[in-house]
Structure formats: C-alpha cells, structure tokens
Symmetry: C2
Subunit: 426 residues, 2 copies
C-alpha cells in the first residue's frame, strides 16, 4: 500500500510553522485528556491536537475496518494490534482530511469544535501500556566508553558484544510520559574505602541516557521467531527515551545479573509515537559491522534512521545548556536485528512492547549520550550557560531531550521528552 500520507508536497489547512516537528507528513499517535476530562487517542498537526475518537464517531474513517471504540481508549495498544495495513489506511486518511484542498472538515465549524484542540489545552498521557520493556545496548561508542570507564580501556568491548545485540529486561511500571517529575532515587551504594557496610541514601551520581525506543505490534507466538526480513512489519513507531540512571546504585548492584534499582525508578518517553512509516524518507545505510553477522541477523539495506538527537539541562529558573548532540544512525545494531535476535529463541513479542536502543553515543566527545561519558565519570565537568558546572544531574534540573529528522523537503520530529529531578523523598 502506498504511504500517501508521506507526500512531501502536501499542505494542511491547519497552520503549521516551518520549523514544526509536526507537519501534515508526520501524523504521530498519542493519548491525551481534553479540558472536559475526556481521554482519547489523537494525532497532532502543528500546535493542534486532533481527537481521533471524535473524528471516527463523526464518520471520517468510513470504509476503514475499525471497531467503534478503537480510538476511545486510554492506550494505543488495541490500535497497534490492528497491524500495519490499518495504521497506513488511517494515516493516509488523516492526511486527506487535513489536506488544504479538502473542505469537508475545514468548512464544518461544528465538527472542528469537537475534533480540534490547541495543544496547550490537552494533557498528554502515556501512549501505550507497555507490556514488556527491553533495553538494548546497541551503540558501539557507548559500550566502548562504558567498558573503558568501568573495566579495561584496552579490552573495552566484551567478546560477545560484536556478535550479539546485547539486551536486558527493564521495568515497565516506571515508564512515565514526558513532563512527569521524578524524585532522586534512594538506595545502597558501594561501601566507602575501608568499610564493609554499604552507603545508603540519595543517589549522588544521577544521570540521563539519551535513547530512542520502538513500540511493537503482535509479532510471534511462544516458540516462533521473527525472520529479520519481516521485522519492520512489527514496528509501529518510535519515541524519544530518557533512561534515567543512578550510577552509584547501579555500580554496586549490577554484578552478576545486571542493572535493577539503578534504572527502574523512572524511564521517560516522549508522548507522540512517530510511525516508522513517517520516518521512511530518513532511512540510511546500515552500519558496517566488524564481523559478518550470523545468518539470522544478516540483512542488507537501509535499516538505520537519520534522526538528530539532542539533550539539554535546564537549571531551575535559568536558561538551558545543550550538553549532547547525537544521532540515531550511530546505532551499531539495527532495530530489525534487535527484533530478530529477541525472538530467535521463541520469546513472544506483543502489541505495546517497547524496545530501547540503549544510550546512543556518537564518535565525537560532544555526542556522548550520558553525563557519565560526557564528563568522563565527573573528571571533566560541563560548563553551563548560567556559570554553574555539572558532573551529573542536580536537584531541580530539568533534562530535555529533542529529536527530529530533516531533509530539504520535510522535517519529522518528536517534540520534547522532559523530566525534572526533585529532591529525594524522605
């Protein structure tokens, strides 16, 4: 099916600023609460939130096989489970409805009142109920940096890393939407020199991790696997993802079974899921891999995505400082490889599962995706625009992640993924 929604020439009758992340070619999906306290599934064009529940009730999706209440829900899970054909039909239809040449809704003031809201009048929610959340560790630069910092700079990459898209399971219950404030976590930390009792208290080394995450649809039953050629079919879309990390809690707890309380106090995602379809124009060549991957991980083509990513820190009442510029294309293992690997043993993937990329660090020092790497474990503090310095995140700092793809025809963005760190709760 042609993705007519992606037509770069199309203009909308809704006003869209030229630098907007949400032109009519984006059409992301999210969940919001209106001023009238109604929760609904929606999309966004420019600075307008569009109620897809109302649009459906008023007959604008006629001819597309959708259940009556598919958009009158508090998560996208059921819509995602409907599969790629349905997503495409719906995105194409939305593009038609808001096309500058289409007067059907444009000229119906009563309908517009029910369907279109200003973004400042809605409250974005978590877009999906995440069943299982897996975090990968797929940036070679990040794995090399962390290996150098924590183990051995000469053998920074462990022997398995170049063969396996290393991943581990995360906690779904603490995934929160952008804007949710987060208390500094409390926990055990390594005993001080000469002591045997662990330290205990608020984390002193609170960090962000610049990641992206993709949301899947129902892919396979227990015992079956997803062939790498089919992996794209099961990827609904992507979000920005800040995988908050308490480095001191993590360092003490993580052997031998991996990170736990150092990560699961909170993970923030951006509220709009940008579809993989909308990002089609930004596919770029797969990374060159050091070893030829095993057959189940082998696929030629353009499975990488050119998405500019940025992280900024904003001290309370001060202006922000951009601390990192990275790009999703720096990933060593592609999403297709991750899905093929995740299911090679028969592990089932469901609608609403989320797969994090792992921290995305680029080749240059200003592209490292965590404070751990940017300040090299605090050795090189970052100078902030307000004159202060940061080794890690301070209380009352807001961390702001942004992401967008751009070519000479269109810009497809994610908006912001923000979180403010509140002092530890006594």
């Amino acid at each position: 099916m042609e993705i007519t929604a992606n037509n770069p020439k199309r203009k909308s009758w809704l006003q869209v600023n030229s630098n907007s992340d949400f032109p009519i070619q984006n059409i992301p999906f999210g969940v919001f609460i209106t001023k009238d306290d109604i929760i609904t599934i929606g999309t966004r064009i420019g600075d307008f939130a569009i109620d897809l529940g109302a649009l459906h009730q008023l007959g604008y999706f006629e001819g597309i096989p959708l259940t009556d209440d598919i958009f009158l829900q508090d998560t996208l899970n059921d819509f995602i489970a409907d599969g790629r054909k349905t997503w495409r039909l719906v995105r194409n239809r939305i593009a038609e409805i808001f096309d500058v040449t289409n007067g059907k809704l444009r000229d119906n003031a009563e309908h517009k009142d029910k369907i279109i809201f200003r973004m400042e009048d809605v409250e974005m929610q978590l877009p999906v109920s995440v069943g299982d959340y897996t975090d990968f560790y797929a940036s070679k630069e990040h794995a090399t940096n962390v290996g150098s910092l924590f183990r051995d700079p000469e053998n920074a990459l462990l022997p398995n890393w170049l063969h396996i898209p290393i991943g581990y399971h995360g906690r779904s219950s603490s995934i929160v939407p952008s804007g949710t404030p987060i208390h500094r976590p409390i926990g055990q930390q390594r005993p001080s020199e000469g002591e045997t009792t662990p330290n205990f208290g608020p984390s002193k080394l609170l960090d962000f991790e610049l990641e992206m995450a993709f949301i899947t649809t129902v892919a396979n039953d227990l015992g079956d696997r997803i062939p790498i050629e089919e992996a794209d079919e099961y990827i609904f879309g992507l979000v920005l993802f800040n995988d908050w990390s308490a480095r001191d809690i993590q360092a003490w707890e993580y052997v031998p079974l991996g990170p736990f309380l150092g990560k699961n106090f909170a993970s923030t995602i951006s509220p709009w899921i940008v579809t993989l379809d909308a990002l089609e124009p930004f596919r770029v060549d797969n990374p060159k891999q050091v070893h030829e991957p095993l057959p189940y991980l082998k696929k030629e083509g353009k499975d990488s995505l050119d998405i500019n990513l940025q992280m900024a820190i904003k001290p309370e009442g001060k202006e922000e400082t951009v601390v990192c510029n990275s790009n999703f294309k720096y990933m060593y293992w592609t999403m297709a490889q991750q899905l093929a690997h995740h299911t090679v043993n028969g592990c089932p993937v469901n609608a609403g599962d989320m797969m994090g990329s792992g921290t995305i660090s680029g080749p240059t020092k200003d592209s490292f995706g965590s404070m751990l790497e940017l300040t090299w474990r605090g050795q090189n503090p970052i100078k902030m625009n307000d004159g202060s310095e940061r080794k890690f995140i301070n209380d009352n700092d807001t961390v702001i992640m942004r992401g967008y793809s751009q070519n000479d025809q269109v810009r497809i963005g994610f908006g912001e993924c923000t979180g403010k760190i509140l002092p530890a709760k006594e």
Copy 2:
C-alpha cells in the same frame, strides 16, 4: 480480620483425599475454562473446580463488596487489586459455603451443577496477566554454587550479595501455565576453542530452576516505597515456578547486563495461587543473616515459609525420577525484604506483578535446585530410574515440580507445575 478459612478442624461436604494438596483450608485462586468454553475465576477443593463467577451470580457472596463481574474475567488481576480485606472475606465465605454443616449449596442440585466441576473437565489457564516480573537470586547456597562454578570457589559470593536481595527484571510475555509444552530454545553460544564465530543452534545445556514466585497487589506509586513492616499486606499469594534456563545461551550473553535469551524463552508457573493467608500456619523463623541488614531491610519475626519443594524428571513413556528435594525456608532473603528493597528507590509495584525467588538450593547436594548444581555442570550425571543418565534436560523429558506445606493438622499444597521439552523448532 480473623482468617476463619484456616480453621484446621473444618471439613467439607466435598470429598477430599487425606493426601490432597487442596483441603478446604487451602482455597487457592485460579482461572479455568469449562467444557462449555466459558472462562472464569475459580477455586479448588479436593479434585473439584469451583466456579466463583457462578457462585457470585447465584448470590453466595452477598454482603461482600464485589463488582458483579469480578470473577467473570480471564485473569485475577482485578480481584487481586481489591486488596487483602476482600481476599479474606471471600476465602472465609467459601470455607463457610463448603463447610460440611452448611446445606445451602450442598442440598441445591441445580446450583451445584452450575458451580462445581471435576478437575479433569476444566482447563487451567494463566491465573494473572503478569505486568512486571522480577526474579531474585535469594538462596545463599545457590549463589555460592553458581559463583563457585562460574567464577571463583574461594570468593563465590560477590561483595554485594550479603547486603542486597539481588534481583533483575524478567520477561512477562513468556510466562506460561503448567502443562504448556516448550520447544528447546535456539541461540548463540560461546565460540569453540580457537574460533571467533559463536556457535549457533539448539541449546545443549537446558536446565530447570526450582523457584517459587509471589504475586503482588497494588502497593505504591512512583516515588513511594513500601516499609518492610507493611510488605505482607501486598502479597496475594504464591505459585510454584520453574524458571527454565539454557545455560550455554546464558553463559555467552550474560555479561555485562544479565541473563536474557537464556531465560526468556519460557517460564512455567503452577495454575493455582495459594494465598499467603493459607500459608500462615507454616511461618518459620527468619534466616540468620551474616551482616545486620540496613534499616530498610530489617525485620524480626517469622517471614520464612516451610514449603517442601520437589523436582522430578519423567522421560517419555517412563517413570519419573525425583532429582531434588528442597524447601522454600532455605531462602536467605525473605519476601518482605525483597519487596522493601524493590521499592526503596520508588519503583511502583502493581496488582499482578510477579516476584521469583531465584533458584532455591538447600545445604545438601540432593537439595540443589538446578541440574547445573545437581550434576556440578555435568561432571556427575544423575542416574535415572529407567537406567538412563541426565546431565541436563533431554528432548521429550517432562519436568515436574511439586510443593506443599504440612503439619499434624493440615496439608496445604500447590499441585504440580509441569512442562515437557519438545525438540527445537526448525
């Protein structure tokens, strides 16, 4: 509220064999499908399955605040979310209804037809939709054995182990109910001596792990924690748990972020959740801990449970061989300590979350909870009753876990948790 359901003197008008795991003092909760293809929440007395949906519709829970459809569901999650007071009211009422002196249902043939089924006529389902699944690593003997086998016998326990109830996140999507057959998983394994390319194929070292798991109710919001004194309130009940493990896949993938595909191909639980209330008579003293725990983990009392656990292997068409006898009381960290630890950083725990104990190994060689430990990595194969030997699990072996508590008055059991290993799927 008194747990009158636990009265050891009570007898039921339903026939119960003296060695049954399910006397009227048990009253576990599960989900089953009847011959008429109706899915419902139920309990079990002797070899009878009792439809709680029908019991509720026919008015037997009058006076207990329950929504009309609370038992007409395909998972126990909503009932679990109702909280401990409701669980107790319902269990107490069920005990009354089936008390040998109570004629109300006993003498109503029409109602009995709608409510009571023979166990062989129902098909047990997964009792909960597991939101998040955490696996702990809480048996000192197991951690010591694994540390000796994989690292250094002189320093088998890592420095953090005696201070932290070590845990990690598992995969919810591959949790299956007892009886679900499981294909031998396929995956990468360590390269052969002198090679750099990993081996790939069916796991050669497929193992069970003898565990128990507890199911929680809604406990805390993001940022809040559960004080250890309150932890029991949030534990609905327990199941037997076989955490299948492919040792060769696990060994190659697990550094530095922990087990992933070596575990997430399948995890089997017993279908009846035995409530923590029903296990009250089997509380025993907490284990003596080497170091005084940090204050948030400190609690005196009887938080350990005396539950006999057994694992058997049954080759196809042959009699079974019991390979391990262990006990839940061998756990070094209690469930209360695990919950307090899990939430000390503000991580939210929800209704239907599952917390595995980790492999429960006892002090003697025949009480080790995995083939890895029982055969000491295959060095000492186990002789089977049919004359064959096992280092790990063979294709078409059925692994059977059993568990029960017993004193001179009552036996409270879990039934069986079984799984047959099918050959790898091509």
